[in-house]
């Protein structure tokens, strides 16, 4: 059996709140195998998004270890984490998080440029065509609908062909038609690139499309 893509061992996350520290994650352990699709489910406030952020190295675990592609994320500083994500991880957010001052094409090209890809813009254009936005490359986020913005975000996450795709409720801000289209696209792209997908959702219909679900409750695996 090959090494897991993710190995989480007793992961803890405690954040400072106004009324003192709040325990968000309380000892989470599980593995994710290469090519697997995992749904993180659970009620609001259960810690799904926080866990995804810890797995993506966007949030620093306050305890335990997170190993991704054989490297211990908990030992890395912020810059090392950024370099690790480069080309290996694509992240899709509920609120799209496109850079408002950049066009769709420039948004998608940014991670490719960071990776030093010489034909970053050609590849970005191809990625936009894949998500059906070949005709809107020069548009700014403010000139696009929510569904279109999320498709740009998907193209941006997938363009460097990452080994890992992390998606945090990517349909949360979209209507059902657009939401379904985005999910189809997400699974298509995953299939196309063979990436490992970790998807945060509280939609049971989406969870069943994944290989397995990890349900969280109160910061722990239920």
């Amino acid at each position: 059996m090959s090494d897991p893509v993710f190995h989480l061992s007793n992961v803890m996350l405690s954040l400072k709140g106004n009324a003192g520290p709040v325990d968000i994650l309380r000892g989470i352990s599980f593995d994710v195998q290469p090519g697997e699709t995992i749904a993180l489910t659970g009620p609001s406030g259960s810690g799904k998004s926080s866990l995804l952020m810890v797995m993506g190295g966007l949030e620093e675990a306050t305890g335990g270890t997170v190993t991704a592609l054989g490297q211990n994320l908990t030992d890395m500083n912020e810059d090392a984490l950024a370099r690790f994500r480069l080309g290996r991880m694509g992240i899709v957010f509920q609120s799209f998080h496109l850079i408002p001052t950049m066009t769709a094409l420039e948004n998608v090209a940014t991670p490719l440029e960071l990776a030093g890809v010489h034909d970053a813009f050609e590849q970005a254009e191809a990625a936009l065509k894949t998500v059906g936005l070949g005709h809107r490359t020069g548009h700014y986020p403010s000139q696009m609908s929510g569904g279109e913005q999320q498709r740009v975000a998907l193209a941006r996450a997938c363009a460097p062909r990452p080994a890992i795709l992390l998606a945090d409720e990517p349909t949360g801000n979209l209507d059902s038609v657009n939401g379904a289209a985005i999910m189809d696209l997400l699974f298509d792209l995953r299939d196309q690139y063979g990436a490992t997908l970790v998807l945060v959702t509280h939609d049971p219909a989406l969870a069943v499309r994944c290989d397995r679900s990890v349900e969280l409750a109160d910061g722990q695996v239920a």
């Binding site: 998004s49 926080s50 952020m53 993506g56 966007l58 949030e59 620093e60 912020e78 810059d79 984490l81 950024a82 370099r83 994500r85 480069l86 080309g87 992240i91 957010f93 509920q94 609120s95 998080h97 496109l98 850079i99 408002p100 001052t101 950049m102 420039e106 090209a109 940014t110 991670p111 440029e113 960071l114 990776a115 010489h118 970053a120 813009f121 403010s142 941006r156």
Partner: protein, 838 residues
């Protein structure tokens, strides 16, 4: 009803404190403080001049005659009215020690001097003792600048004309020095009767006699002035009294402070940009509140009033802070300021400059807040459901635009009224408005260029991100270019004008100017003088002309001012010459020169440019008072007179028969090689001790140092503008911090390390600073060119040292302003940033 409701809403909204309004408060406070401080210092100097008027003048009143002493009747007039009369004489001469010579401004005084105030000497001996004749050698005192130049110490001897004097002490403080105005040489003071036998003050020598009057306490100065002007009409007398003891200084202070207030207004305009940005940002943050109020039934007027009351209250607070600073800071710094001022000042809190600054502050605050406030009306209830703000009309309703225009007109009118010079006001404020327009257009152009260039910068991610950010509205390219640009524009204009003027004076002028001016050459000395120079191969040119001095009193039988207004030619006395034929270089522009043997009624040839400014025509008659005698001539020709080469140039020339009989001397310019200058001076000064030599280079240095002080004062004003600009810049950086933090979080998510993001942030700040500096340099150089070309009438070349400083200043300021916020943005954890946006 609506207003009371709005007041209640405003009170509730203001419970949140001053958060978000620090920028507004700082901008208004600083702009108002700068203007109030300039006005307070001006009032302090004016009060000082009034308080010390008699001391500055050396008496309660002064009667000044050129070329002559008062007649017995005139002395009797004075003695009849004054308790005491003091006679002094002032003229230029050369102080000589061995082979060393230096130009000095001699003041011969009588026993009564000084009528008011005290002379302070080093060593501290009484003036009587210092000027006493000991062993047949009269005493004299001089300024340290002169004694140092000649290597003299108290006890040493020196020569004036053909007579020896003993330096008995150095002048530490001369009570009436400010009234003497600009002097080319340092002062030597001695007894008037000691000048006898010195060969100085020969007929025709240029000197002024002054009679200071110690008047009874109840004297009505205005009435006495009128009486003097009636009784001494056409006697060439000039009146000054203690109400304005140093008119030259008072006028200079008024003009400089008027200009500095206008420079201060540019600071307030920059502050206005910041205020506008602060109000816009605040109202943008209140969009949801406004939309909710609209949804609950609030009409447009209520919304406008609610925020007008809030912004108005805070603006008044900012103005009050500015007024307090502008009143108190000069008071606290008064010992320092007084020590550096050459004139007395009485520091106190003066209401007038504070009222002036408050009016400017209120008008600026209104003009700059009305626009964003008016747009708050456009927020609709629908904004609660979708982002309708961006769809709001960009221009406010017409009645607001009319109000803003009226406010701008009021600001210009009040500024003109306060400083008394419409020309200066319109030029300066027009320049500021022009600079703002250029900067606003440049900001739009910069965003356009950045958008275009970001395509070209593909493959250079840091540069591309920087350009993409500049092209967006969020980064505030407009705010940066406007706020920083205006301060830098003013500084660039000052730098360019000062540099060009100094270049014209000390750079180009010595190449075309003569080496020496020799004045007070007697007619019988002219042959020997000319022979010495004509036989010197190092002398390339000698120009000589007879010189008298006269005051133009009437034009066409009416007081001259009625025709020519307050033209500089009419202020005080002017050099007048005569000639049978024009020089070979003289270019007659209209009319004809008189025949060489002409002996008819006096004819006048007048400088063409000045004649046009004074509305003179050929055939006009002009009365000139020379040595107390009125000579009326007819203007028969106009000619070009070029003052720019510092050669001999007379505004007014007459036919020889008109003036030849009057006692007069000659003036001469000598163009010689540098190496020959010392020998020429030595030979001529030895042969003709009464002649005064003015070295042109020394005069140029003296003028340059005065210009340097003026440029420094203006630069301080411009720095206040720049400081305001920097605060606005920090405000813009703070406003953009959230956007940058978000951007940094996304870029980290996509794999960018902090160093790369930081470099991109610095690059965008540096690029914006570079753009702002370059545009400011363009706007400032344009202003500098306009002033050089139209006002100073000198050539204009770009002064690169100043230009590069402006651009570097722009870069440093933007990078510094952005640095603190950039570090904060970089250190924020991406997960927290992104979660807050979910």
């Amino acid at each position: 009803m609506s207003f009371r409701l709005a007041t209640r809403f405003a009170q509730r909204e203001m419970r949140g404190g001053l958060r978000g309004f620090r920028l507004l408060l700082a901008c208004l406070a600083l702009g108002v403080a700068a203007i109030a401080a300039v006005g307070s210092v001006r009032s302090a100097i004016e009060a000082g001049l009034t308080r010390e008027g008699a001391a500055l003048l050396g008496g309660d009143a002064e009667l000044d005659f050129t070329y002559r002493f008062a007649s017995a009747e005139e002395r009797a007039w004075m003695e009849e009215r004054a308790a005491k009369v003091s006679e002094i004489v002032e003229f230029r001469s050369m102080a000589v020690v061995g082979e060393d010579r230096a130009l000095t401004q001699i003041k011969g005084v009588d026993d009564a001097y000084p009528l008011v105030g005290n002379m302070v000497l080093d060593p501290a001996i009484p003036l009587d003792q210092a000027l006493a004749t000991v062993n047949g050698v009269p005493g004299a005192v001089m300024e340290r600048a002169l004694s140092d130049r000649l290597g003299l110490s108290p006890g040493d001897s020196f020569t004036l004309g053909t007579k020896s004097f003993r330096l008995s002490a150095l002048i530490l403080r001369e009570p009436d020095s400010a009234a003497s105005g600009f002097a080319l040489g340092p002062r030597t003071l001695l007894r008037l009767d000691a000048l006898e036998g010195s060969g100085l003050l020969a007929p025709g020598t240029l000197y002024n006699s002054k009679y200071r009057l110690d008047l009874p306490p109840d004297t009505d100065l205005a009435q006495l002035e009128t009486a003097a002007e009636t009784d001494f009409e056409n006697a060439g007398m000039r009146w000054t009294d203690a109400r304005n003891g140093a008119p030259g200084v008072a006028q200079f202070v008024r003009r400089l402070s008027a200009f500095l207030v206008l420079v201060g207004l540019s600071g307030l305009a920059v502050g206005g940009v910041g205020v506008s940005a602060a109000v816009r940002a605040y109202l943008h943050g209140k969009t949801e509140v406004i939309a909710t109020l609209r949804a609950l039934g609030a009409n447009r007027a209520t919304i406008f009033q609610t925020y007008f009351i809030q912004i108005g209250t805070l603006s008044l607070l900012g103005i009050a802070i500015g007024l307090a600073l502008g009143a108190i800071v000069p008071l606290l710094l008064s010992p320092l300021i007084e020590a550096r001022l050459p004139v007395p000042a009485t520091f106190a809190i003066y209401p007038a400059p504070l009222i002036e600054a408050a009016i400017y502050g209120i008008l600026t605050a209104l003009a700059f807040t009305l626009w964003p406030l008016a747009r708050s009306e456009n927020v609709r209830a629908a904004t609660l459901f979708r982002d309708a703000w961006s769809g709001a009309r960009r221009l406010p309703a017409p009645h607001y635009l009319i109000a803003i225009t009226l406010l701008a007109i009021a600001l210009v009118s009040i500024a003109g009224w306060f400083n008394g010079s419409w020309r200066l006001t319109l030029w300066t404020l027009g320049g500021i408005a022009g600079a703002l327009l250029i900067l606003a257009l440049a900001a739009a152009l910069i965003r356009f260029i950045a958008r275009r260039a970001s395509h070209v910068a593909r493959g250079y991610p840091r540069l591309r991100w920087a350009l993409a950010a500049i092209s967006g509205t969020g980064e505030g390219a407009g705010a940066v270019v406007l706020s920083l640009g205006l301060g830098l524009s003013v500084l660039a204009a000052v730098g360019q004008i000062d540099g060009n003027l100094r270049q014209a004076i000390s750079g180009n002028l010595p190449d075309v100017a003569p080496s020496y001016f020799f004045v007070d050459i007697q007619k019988d000395q002219m042959p020997g003088y000319t022979e010495r120079l004509e036989n010197d191969p190092a002398v390339s040119r000698i120009d000589s002309a007879p010189m008298l001095r006269g005051v133009i009193t009437q034009i066409n039988g009416r007081p001259a001012a009625e025709t020519a207004g307050d033209h500089w030619v009419l202020r005080g006395d002017r050099g007048v010459t005569y000639a049978a034929a024009p020089d070979a270089d003289t270019k007659i522009t209209a009319g004809e020169w008189w025949p060489e043997d002409y002996t008819g009624p006096p004819l006048i040839s007048f400088a063409a440019e000045e004649a046009e400014e004074m509305n003179l025509s050929l055939g006009d008659t002009m009365t000139v008072n020379i040595l107390g005698r009125d000579i009326t001539g007819t203007v028969s020709s106009f000619r070009e007179v070029d003052f720019s080469t510092a050669g001999i140039g007379f505004i007014l020339a007459m036919n020889p028969a008109a003036l030849q009989g009057a006692p007069h001397t000659f003036i001469s310019t000598v163009y010689a090689e540098d190496r020959a200058e010392a020998a020429i001076l030595r030979d001529l000064a030895s042969a003709y001790p009464n002649i005064t030599a003015i070295r042109v280079r020394d005069a140029i240095d003296r003028v340059s140092s005065v210009l340097a002080s003026l440029a420094a004062a203006t630069s301080y004003g411009a720095l206040a503008t720049l400081l305001t600009g920097f605060i606005v810049l920090i405000g813009a950086a703070a406003a953009g911090a959230e956007a940058r933090t978000f951007e940094a979080a996304i870029l980290k998510t996509l794999g960018a390390p902090r160093r790369q993001i930081a470099l991109s942030f610095m690059l965008r700040a540096a690029l914006l600073g570079l753009f702002a500096g370059t545009v400011a340099l363009f706007a400032g150089a344009l202003g500098g060119w306009a002033v050089s070309h139209y006002v100073m009438e000198t050539d204009f070349t770009l002064i690169w040292s100043s230009a590069l400083m402006i651009i570097a200043g722009g870069i440093v300021a933007t990078v510094l302003a952005g640095l603190g916020f950039a570090l904060k943005s970089l250190n924020a954890r991406p997960a927290q940033v992104l979660r807050s946006r979910e």
